[in-house]
């Protein structure tokens, strides 16, 4: 009987191994990437491993969707769901709707690993979402944003 349980444990472990490391999969906002990533009017970016290392990240995904009211509404809805998992939130709300938001999420795996969602609806009507995972903290993120702004 013990042997039977040992075998079952091995099978259960084998089933769980592939599920490890899918931290971003628990986020609703990922549906926006799947739905709009390949559509006209969208720009979706995912960085290579080599590029990620230079920014101290393990995952970078961003999407910008221009002039799509449906996408904006969906993004706001998804952000509203995902922010429940955030430990730190900064957001601007206009007429009850999130216009921009910065969220630091609860780390799912390693203790030193941070997860951020950056979200903004521009005045021109485009929506941008950036998802970052990595050992960088919010100060590193600000530095990176300053670098990008000045370039």
């Amino acid at each position: 009987m013990k042997q039977l349980f040992k075998r079952w444990n091995v099978i259960v472990v084998m089933l769980l191994i592939p599920l490890c490391g899918w931290a971003q999969k628990d986020l609703k906002i990922m549906a926006l990437f799947d739905e709009y990533g390949k559509k006209k009017g969208s720009t979706m970016v995912e960085l290579s491993k080599e590029m990620l290392e230079t920014y101290d990240m393990t995952l970078y995904k961003s999407i910008t969707i221009s002039e799509d009211e449906g996408a904006i509404q969906k993004a706001q809805k998804y952000i509203g769901e995902d922010k429940k998992k955030a430990k730190k939130i900064k957001e601007v709300v206009n007429k009850g709707l999130i216009v921009s938001g910065y969220y630091q999420l609860v780390a799912k795996t390693d203790k030193g690993m941070n997860r951020f969602i950056l979200f903004k609806v521009s005045r021109k009507g485009s929506v941008s979402v950036v998802y970052i995972e990595g050992k960088l903290d919010s100060e590193d993120l600000v530095t990176l944003l300053f670098m990008v702004k000045t370039e």
Partner: protein
Amino acid sequence: MKTIEELLDKYFEGATSCAEEQQLKDYFSQEKEIPSHLQAYREMFVSLALLSDVKRKKEPIMIMTPVTTTIRRHRIFMQAAASVAILFCLSIGGGMYYHSKDAQKGYVIINGERSTDKNLIISCMENSMAAVTDYPEDVLFLDGEYQE
């Protein structure tokens, strides 16, 4: 005694019942004196009686058979479960490998068109980062700060 002789005749004619055969075996297996003209049959019936005993002793092995079948069933079930687990792992693992291989290269998709040009990827990444904030310092989360 005549009965035994009659039974022997019947036995060699192949007309005895199981009970009559048992009677013969019992008779020749007993330790008491057997008439000399019947001694020749004694060895044969004692041997037959021993053979029946051996057969009877083998019967418990027949009872064990279902246990063996159960173990075999368990083994088949475990093998099937292991196969399903391996297939599941391979499919998920394959998907993840494909995804990771895809992500390892890095890419940008603009209006449905995919590119792996490094400069274009960096340029689009910078545009996205610039688009999410007008004031980078807004992103700074101070310790203990929680704003909504």
